[in-house]
Amino acid sequence: MEILLNRWLSFWEKIQNPGVYGEVLKGLRNTAYIAVVGLIIGIVIGTLIAVVRVVPKYKRIARILDKICTVYVAFFRGTPMVVQLLLGYYVMLPLLNITADPLTVCVIIFGLNSGAYVSEIMRGGIMSVDIGQTEAGRALGLSYATTMKKIVVPQAVKNIIPTLGNEFITLVKETSIVSFVGALDLYKAFRNIGNSTYEYMVPYLMMAIVYIILVLIITLGIKLIERRLRRSDRRN
């Protein structure tokens, strides 16, 4: 216990240094940024893929798009995110001759990856919406796309908000790998503290606590949103 106390005191002294807690805050901000923007990109891509996958396959273009989406989802679900990150940063960037900072690459890869997972969630959500909703829209003369956009997808999104919340939590936790391509996140910030004191016990313990608090806050947020949605079901 005494060891822990001493180490905690030296950590406490260290973290009060603006340069140090500044870096932790920046790591926290990057973690939030990657997870939030990644999820938003993921929802957009995931919805598009889900629609392609549920659309009736009369036309050839629909079948081709469906194949492309299948490959996309298989790739992003079938390889570790670290691998995707490394491929993005060390393979795609040089091949395409683009310069981009690590953070941007992380956000894009997280978005693409999350798109694959969200597409499966969204597909389930779309299929859970009663077929009668689609039929009513089509019978009024609305196109398939309009019916999807105005009627089916909004209801699907509502059904899958809890599951999307889980995806968000997964993304937050997965951000701990972004230092593989040199981005600063929570993990990297705490490791830097450890590196500078050769003492890792307290920094990593604190890191774990910060992650847990983050996840608890998000879980609470999802609960609140869910409760709001359920109330709006009964409204008036």
């Binding site: 019978a139 003369g141 009627i151 008036n236």
Partner: protein, 274 residues
Amino acid sequence: MIDVINLEKSFGNVEVLKGITTTIDEGEKVVIIGPSGSGKSTFLRCLNCMEDPTSGSIIFEGEDLADMKVDINVHRRHIGMVFQQFNLFNNKTVLQNIMLAPVHVGVSDIRKAKRKNFFTNIGNIFRKEQRDLIKIDKTKAQVIEEARENAYILLNRIGLADKADVYPSTLSGGQKQRIAIVRALAMNPKVILFDEPTSALDPEMVGEVLDLMKQLADEGMTMVVVTHEMGFAREVGTRILFIDQGIILEENTPKEFFENPQHPRTKEFLSKVL
């Protein structure tokens, strides 16, 4: 108004409709009855191509709806449909349910006209003979306002204007179905198809829905109604189609049909339901 010519429909290997030919004239109230699974719903749903016919033609306003090349969405605007399960949009208020399609159609027509005019204008720079532009006589705001006014007229008509801003989940079955009917009316359809509109209702609510349908009938709306309500068929129908095993087995005026059924299977069916 609708010419059905040799309509056939199969699901996989199962032949559900085996060649149906009939004409639905303007102002007619055609009532379709028949045993369960005989293909009544399938027939009705083929009329607006909710099910694509396997073969045969559905001629509506001179065009064959069964032809995959026609723009079915344009024709469906003129063919209302009312479902057994109401199918009000759960994510929209009652008012939004009624306004959605008229507003969407009106606004997208304006958008299309503007796009066309844009290209006509560009073309006109190079043409000697100037081409005319499409007249756009309404703004988007006017379309929305008109749809809203019309929706309130319809809601007042069924006495549900006070429900304009509530969500469907809070309504009774009878209220839902009456709103579903005026939602179809909001598009000013030339004909309305009803698939067992009262079958999912509690008995005490059947009357209010049938009353509204009778009103429409009296106003001269062309209607095609699948129903088990024999009283309605007799009172409102101008023609009865008895469908059995995918064909029209018997077809007659209500009076003749109920008093003087010809086919043994019709007699058997009527003895069960009357």
